[in-house]
Every structure is written in C-alpha cells, then in structure tokens.
C-alpha cells in the first residue's frame, strides 16, 4: 500500500469536524447533572410539628402544650400519637424561661410540683426536690421526675424514640428542627422550644420493612452494613407479653432505647448474631421481610408466601449476605 500523505491530511480534515462534534456531545453529556433534593426527613419533621401541636391529647390550645398532658405522654409511647413508618423521632420540649430563684428547699415545693409533676416531695440534694446552691449567682430550684432521671431546672419533657446505642454506632441518618411553642401556665403561656429529631436507623428500617410487608403483602428488602447495626444487637423480636413493641435484643435483654411501637403485626424472631456468624468476613447484608400465609423457614417456599387475596399470618425475616 502506498503511503499517501495528502490522503491522510485530507482524511483528518474531514474527520476533524466529526471528532469535534463527538467531543462537544461528550462535554455536554458529562456536564449535565440532575440534582433532586426531596428533603424527606426535613419535610417529615415539619409535618410532624403540625400534627403534634394540634393533637388535643398533648396541647391545651393550638401550639400551647399542657404540662399535665405532656407528663402523661412521657409515660406512654409518642408513636401512639403520630407515627411515620420510615423514621423514628424524639421530641424535646423545654421552656425558654430562666431558672426559678430560691432561698431554701421549701421555696421550691411549688416549682417541683409543677415542673416535675411530683406529688410526694423529698427535699434536699439526695431527694427529688432541691434548691441548688450556687457559688456565683442566685440559687435556683431543681427537681427529678424519677430517681434515675437527671436534675432539671425548667419545664422539660422528652418523648419518643431515641437510639441510645447511637453513641456507639451512629444512626444511618438524623435531622432535627426547632419550633416556637408555648406551655400553658395558669391563664397564660410560657415561651418554649420544641425540638424534633428524626432518626433513620437500623431499628426504624427493619420495623418499617416488617410493617410494609404485612400491610402490602409484598416482600421488602432492607440493606445494611455491619457498622450500621447498633452495638450489641443480636436479635430482633417482639417484646414482652403485651407485645405492642418490637425491639433489638442483646441476648435476653432489650437494648436500651431500641424499641418501637408496632402493635398487631405478627413477626418471627430474627437471629442477627447467627446471620452475622454465617459469613463473618462479610460486611454488607440484607434482610428480606416475607409476608407468609403458612409458616416456613428461610428462605420460604413460594407456596408459603401470601398473595394479594391471602391473609398474612406472620412476617418472616431472612438475613443473607450481599
């Protein structure tokens, strides 16, 4: 074949525009980016604030909380009032007023009754109602709602789900917002702040996958990494005899804070530790929630899985490596 320089130059000249066009199209393609921000958790927090501040089981008037109702709600489970399957949440309500000045313990009896809801007062630093002595500044009243709680010097309530194991392994995602509210006090309202923190954690995901599988009669898959599992969690199962909650367990003991209100959904126990040990080197896992009409072991027979017209008898959770 003869080497024809002119032919090559001509070819390049002809190809040049085509190559440039390809480059231009590539530049356009790589420069195009789609940015969608759904802000689902933030929106949930704002929507929840509307729900909570208008729930007459908590408020005396719109956005004005009743201390008695909040104290009662502290003993209950806040998700009975409002629940989002995907996210757990915690509500902190605290009055923005300063501490109550006192001269002696006896000056604090009214404060302790109102703020901590105490009917039996045990005065002093070893009791549940105290006038805290300050080296600098004025002494102020403080009280304990229960003996295992910390001292508080203002109206303060904490309701809801908080993964206490977050200190050891972080929740997958969390977000929070503060809202201006009031606390009913005789015939007026004290200024207060309500902070809602939403959690997207291992427990919220597995409990939600369970609930979705039960209600939709379809299998749901939840993926997670080993480091997203709360420290010490070895099992997931229904708690107690009342059975209104599902919890993460460490052996026979539920992990503190790792329980969620999920009544009337039958679910088989999931042995997380056995799953982890089945493939110790693996770090990525998935749990599949199967709606069953008849009992079966993992992986379930197709004949055992509930169809659209079947009644779901239980939810089977199967853990496998990815």
């Amino acid at each position: 074949m003869k080497f024809d320089v002119m032919a090559i130059v001509m070819f390049l000249l002809r190809m040049g525009p085509a190559i440039l066009f390809v480059f231009f199209m590539m530049l356009m393609f790589f420069s195009f980016k789609v940015d969608v921000r759904e802000n689902t958790m933030e929106r949930f927090v704002f929507e929840l604030s509307d729900t909570v501040t208008s729930d007459t089981r908590l408020v005396a008037d719109e956005s004005v909380f009743s201390p008695e109702k909040l104290t009662a709600a502290e003993q209950a489970e806040i998700e009975q009032y409002a629940q989002n399957c995907d996210f757990g949440y915690q509500i902190d309500i605290e009055a923005s007023t300063g501490p109550t000045v006192c001269g002696s313990d006896n000056d604090c009896s009214g404060f302790c009754g109102n703020v901590c809801g105490l009917t039996t007062l045990d005065m002093g630093i070893t009791g549940n109602c105290n006038c805290n002595l300050e080296v600098f500044g004025a002494d102020f009243c403080e009280c304990k709602k229960t003996s295992d709680r910390e001292w508080q010097d203002s109206y303060k309530w904490r309701l809801g789900y908080m993964p206490t194991s977050m200190f050891m392994s972080n929740p997958i995602v969390e977000t929070s917002s503060k809202f201006p509210v009031g606390i009913e006090m005789s015939d007026t309202a004290l200024p207060a702040t309500m902070e809602i923190t939403a959690y997207d954690a291992f427990l919220t995901r597995i409990s939600c996958a369970t609930a979705k599988a039960f209600h939709t009669k379809e299998k749901f898959v939840m993926k997670f990494a080993t480091n997203q599992l709360p420290f010490g969690a070895t099992a997931f199962r229904r708690s107690g005899t009342a059975g209104t909650h599902v919890c993460l367990y460490n052996g026979n003991d539920p992990l503190a804070g790792e329980c969620r209100y999920l009544p009337n959904i039958p679910v088989e126990d999931l042995d997380i530790l056995a799953g982890l040990l089945s493939s110790a080197r693996n770090s990525k896992w998935q749990v599949t929630a199967y709606p069953l009409k008849t009992s079966s072991a993992c992986p379930p027979d197709a004949s055992a899985i509930a169809g659209r017209s079947d009644t779901v008898s239980t939810i089977l959770l199967c853990m496998e490596d990815v």
Partner: protein, 283 residues
C-alpha cells in the same frame, strides 16, 4: 506493518488522549471549589420547605396574657384606638422580651390598620446605633454609611494586642449620606421594585482570575445584614467598572418576605367595622 494500522493507531491515540484531557478538565471542574461554580448545564429540583414558625408564634400569642388582658385583646383595642387610649404602651416591650426568648434569627410583629402601622417591634440582635437604626456588618458597601454603635454595640471581631477591641461596623442605610462621602461609587437602584442598590458585596480574592479564565461572572453575595437580591444585569458593567454587581436591599421584614427568606403570618383583628391585622414575620 500496514500503513492503515499506523493510521488508525494514530487516530485511536489521538482519541484516547483527547478523552483523557477532557476527563481531567471535567474532573477539575467537578472537584475543585474554584471551578465548581462554573455552572455546567444542570437541572435542579428542590422541594419547597414548609415554613410554619410565624404561624406557630401567632398561635402561642393567642394564648398569652399580659397585664390581665390577652395579647390579642390588647392588639384589637390598640388597632381600634391607639397605644395610649388602649393603655397598651407596655405591649411592644412585653412582646419584644417574650419573642427574644425564642432565639429567632429575625422577627417582627406589627399591628396595622391598612397601610397604617400602629405598633411594630422587631429583633435587635443584629442591630446597632442609639435608636437601632443601624445593622452590624463586616462592611457597609454602597448605599450605607458607618455610624457610631451607640448604646447597642456590635459584636467584637477581635482584640488586638494592647489595643481596643475591634467591633463589626455599624451600617445605616442612607443613600444621600453615602453620596456625600469622599469618592462614593455610583448608586443605582435594583431589584423587582427598586428596593435594592448595586453594591460590591463579598467575593473571594480569586473571583477576578476566575472571571478572566472562564469568561463568566462570579456570583457576588451581599454584605452582612442585607437582603441578597442576586446579580441583576443592571448592576453589571459598565456600572462602577463591574465592581458593584450584587443587588442588596435593607434587612427589613418586607424585603425579607419579598426575597422569600422570611414568612409572614397575618391574623385579622376584627371589632365592629374595624378590620386590622396582627402581622408576625419570622425566620
């Protein structure tokens, strides 16, 4: 070796080299902060945030009692008569101290009868001057003049060794006073209703280099305590040699609501034929 093989090898090499160069440029553009504002073709969807704070404050105020009368009762009486006749002269300071406890970034509460504002209180956190007529800012920019902090001082920026503390500037929106300063920049109104002025704004030291390289303009942000209305064309060159491209408006409640950075809840105050409003603006 066939000449055709050489030729196509050359073509392929050129193609691969061009791909590597192109890829490197795109990577630089995406990764480095300097290039990342180059604004490649993009499509962005962000759902609007739900903003409910002003409405919640209005709901709480409906329940608040002050001097044996609720805030709403005092507001209605004020709107029908006046602060003096309704004996509600203490209402502004009470509302101010009440709302300060919420630690909001900005707030304003006003009782208005049509366009007539009967009473108004606002947050003082970023304000300064004897009569709270100024705003604390890192620099004043065009259309504002520096005034004495007076009794409401600005935060201290730093304390030089052996010297007096250096505070933020106290800036007052005053175009005539600005124009009387030595060597003022040309003042031009901007914004949808002309509420802003074209100002220098804030920009990093490499903004000029960026503009020279990429041929596009840097996004200039307003000085502190001003409402940013973007970089409209009327603020671009030739005005002040292209050095005042940020359109900045005074940090009033109206301007913040217009710019979409604050929300206003309006509560009607009805008494016989009188229709007034209690307006709560917050962010």
């Amino acid at each position: 070796m066939n000449i055709s093989d050489t030729f196509w090898t050359l073509i392929l090499t050129m193609f691969v080299a061009a791909m590597i160069i192109l890829g490197t440029l795109i990577w630089l553009q995406i990764t480095l902060p300097f290039f990342s504002t180059a604004d490649p073709v993009s499509y962005s969807i962000e759902f609007v945030h739900v903003v409910n704070k002003p409405f919640m404050i209005a709901e709480v105020l409906a329940h608040v009692k002050f001097d044996d009368r609720t805030v709403f009762e005092q507001s209605i009486e004020t709107s029908v008569t006046s602060l003096q006749n309704a004996q509600t002269t203490g209402l502004p300071s009470y509302l101010s101290s009440y709302l300060d406890k919420y630690e909001l970034r900005e707030y304003e509460i006003a009782i208005a009868n049509g366009n007539n504002v009967i009473m108004s209180v606002e947050s003082t956190e970023s304000k300064c001057g004897d009569n709270l007529e100024g705003w604390c800012s890192d620099s004043c920019g065009v259309g504002r003049v520096q005034i004495s902090s007076g009794s409401y001082r600005c935060p201290i920026l730093y304390v030089p060794e052996g010297g007096a503390p250096i505070e933020k500037d106290c800036c007052k929106d005053d175009i005539p006073a600005y124009q009387s300063l030595p060597n003022p920049k040309d003042v031009r109104s901007c914004g949808p209703s002309g509420q802003g002025v074209c100002s220098e704004g804030k920009r990093p030291f490499y903004a000029r280099v960026y503009e020279l390289i990429w041929g596009t303009s840097w996004k200039y942000e307003c000085e502190e305590s001003r409402v940013d209305l973007g970089n409209p064309p009327e603020c671009g060159p030739p005005l002040n040699g292209g050095n005042t491209r940020a359109c900045c408006a005074p940090m009033t409640a109206d301007n913040q609501v217009d710019a979409g950075i604050a929300v206003r809840a309006i509560v009607p105050l009805l008494y016989k034929q009188s229709v007034a409003t209690l307006e709560v603006t917050a962010r």
